[in-house]
């Protein structure tokens, strides 16, 4: 085990389903905290938005036969676009759709494939929203997480957490927190926080996958 810190490396449809469901559970559990963060520098809806969106994702997954990782992520992305609204709906929706599309229709992908596809998804988010790391948005967690995923799931989780926390001293330059100017300083960004939740759910899914013997 010690010399295999990074299993599993074969990620199938089942893995992606479990990731999305784990993410939905985490969002549901943490929705109030996300809303609380959003009420400090936003409009107090981020938790409710993502809870609604991921509930729709869970439901759509249950009703879908899809098995390819890419198709599952694209399905989830479309749900977020149709059900969330706000800034986070199109942004997270685009993240998952682009990541999914980049993965193509393979039945199994590697962590390296996922890291690369996530990088494409994150780029699409940056393009759509016009934000860059340091602007105090979800990108502050997503960009380092995508980079670190090339190394390991755990590294991605750590990078996302660190990125989310690092938004605290930043002044927002995108999204509604930017309206606050300097008053946005001192608060953790809700979107970066939810991004860290999603990446944590990914690492947890990988942990369980490994435990259940699904890894290499």
């Amino acid at each position: 085990m010690l010399d295999q810190p990074d299993v599993p490396d074969v990620l199938d449809g089942d893995f992606f389903r479990r990731w999305l469901i784990t993410a939905a559970e985490a969002v549901d559990r943490e929705a109030d905290r996300l809303t609380e963060l959003d009420s400090a520098i936003g409009d107090a809806d981020h938790g409710a938005n993502l809870r609604r969106g991921f509930a729709a994702v869970t439901e759509a997954l249950a009703g879908s036969e899809a098995t390819a990782p890419g198709a599952l992520l694209a399905l989830a992305g479309r749900q977020l676009i149709s059900k969330v609204g706000g800034a986070s709906g199109p942004l997270y929706g685009t993240l998952l759709r682009t990541t999914g599309k980049t993965l193509g229709d393979a039945d199994e992908v590697s962590r390296a494939d996922l890291a690369q596809a996530l990088r494409a998804g994150v780029d699409a988010v940056a393009k759509l929203g016009g934000a860059a790391p340091g602007d105090k948005t979800m990108l502050d967690a997503l960009v380092p997480a995508a980079d670190a995923l090339a190394t390991s799931f755990d590294a991605a989780r750590a990078a996302a957490d660190k990125g989310a926390e690092a938004t605290i001293p930043l002044q927002a330059r995108k999204g509604r927190a930017s309206y606050l100017g300097e008053r946005s300083i001192g608060h953790q960004d809700p979107g970066a926080t939810s991004s860290a939740l999603l990446v944590t759910a990914l690492a947890e899914t990988a942990d369980a996958h490994q435990g259940s013997g699904g890894g290499v």
Binding site: S39, D45, A48
Partner: protein, 328 residues
């Protein structure tokens, strides 16, 4: 709160709107409010929408002389593209649809996606962004100015132009002109309580106020010790005139945020009129009331729109909606 559960607040409200306004078709499930007589032949259609919690904006402005349809999102959350596409399809007569979009990241992204999808369906779409709030500096360091009170002016004046038979480019140009000539500033005397959160969106001790707030219960640019109605009027008018120095008469909107009694709002209006008179600004027309609200927030906003003869004519043109009606 006077609700059942937070999750059904918007659907419940739409059922209530449907029962109150037979002149509207309210699709509760798909969250689209449409003029019953849509599509109106040979007329450019106007579609707007945004998060709920700002009522009567936008649903209360659907009707002859103003919007063709409105798409209400969840509370303070922009609607999703599906709603806008559905609305556009319901109201398009073939002359095209103008999307009136308040400048928030969420609204912009969702309406952009909707415009692409609607165009895929063969609907001609133009968009106008409303960004009138002088509390936000429009720079690389912000998401740009917020859309607030000027939305009413844009919807009314562009709606009148569409009613008068103007083609899409002309309706769009008028909407853009109205926005460019409009500026707003808002103040909050209390936070508001969203159904999802169930408690005030921020803590504002009595005896303090927030200057430069938007319409989503966000804190403003600055907190100060309570000011008088007179001082607030001077502050708001100066903030606006810093940015827009009207040489023509203006339309004036003195807008309540929802929780301020009409009694106080009328008194505030008197001070705004005084402040404008002292600064030699002529007021052509005025509207005082709760039109672009933030749920139960106490406070008010001031919007000025510099107008010319054409815009004045469009303002005076008849309008028949739940929240705004005059003329025949």
């Amino acid at each position: 709160m006077l609700i059942n559960v937070p999750e059904t607040v918007v659907a419940d409200a739409l059922r209530g709107m449907a029962a109150a306004h037979p002149e509207l078709t309210v699709d509760v499930e798909n969250r689209v409010i449409v003029r019953r007589d849509a599509p109106v032949a040979d007329k450019v259609a106007l579609v707007s929408g945004g998060g709920s919690g700002h009522e009567p904006l936008h649903g209360g402005f659907v009707g002859p002389g103003m919007l063709s349809a409105a798409c209400p999102g969840e509370v303070f959350t922009s609607p999703v593209p599906d709603q806008m596409v559905r609305a556009a399809a319901a109201v398009d007569s073939g002359k095209g649809v103008l999307f009136v979009v308040k400048n928030y990241t969420g609204d912009v992204l969702n309406f952009d996606m909707a415009a692409e999808l609607a165009e895929d369906e063969g609907i001609q779409v133009a968009k106008v962004l409303v960004d009138d709030d002088v509390a936000v500096t429009d720079s690389l360091y912000t998401a740009g100015r917020r859309g607030t009170g000027a939305t009413l002016f844009v919807e009314k004046l562009a709606g009148a132009a569409a009613d008068a038979g103007a083609p899409l480019e002309r309706v769009e140009a008028i909407a853009r002109r109205v926005n460019e000539n409009s500026r707003s500033l808002g103040v909050a005397l209390s936070a508001c309580t969203t159904p999802a959160k169930g408690s005030p969106t921020f803590e504002l001790p009595p005896g303090e106020l927030e200057l430069g707030v938007g319409i989503h219960g966000e804190p403003g640019r600055e907190r100060r010790a309570m000011m008088t109605s007179r001082e607030i009027a001077d502050f708001a008018v100066d903030a606006i005139l810093d940015d827009l120095r009207p040489r023509n008469p203006v339309l004036l909107l003195v807008n309540g945020m929802g929780g301020t009694p009409l009694l106080e709002l009328y008194g505030f209006h008197a001070e705004v009129q005084r402040a404008l008179t002292e600064r030699n600004i002529a007021v052509a027309r005025v509207l005082v009331g709760n039109y672009v609200t933030s749920l139960d927030m106490a406070g008010a906003s001031v919007t000025l729109c510099q107008i010319d003869e054409e815009l004045l004519g469009l303002w005076d043109a008849p309008v028949r909606t739940p929240a705004l009606r005059w003329g025949v």
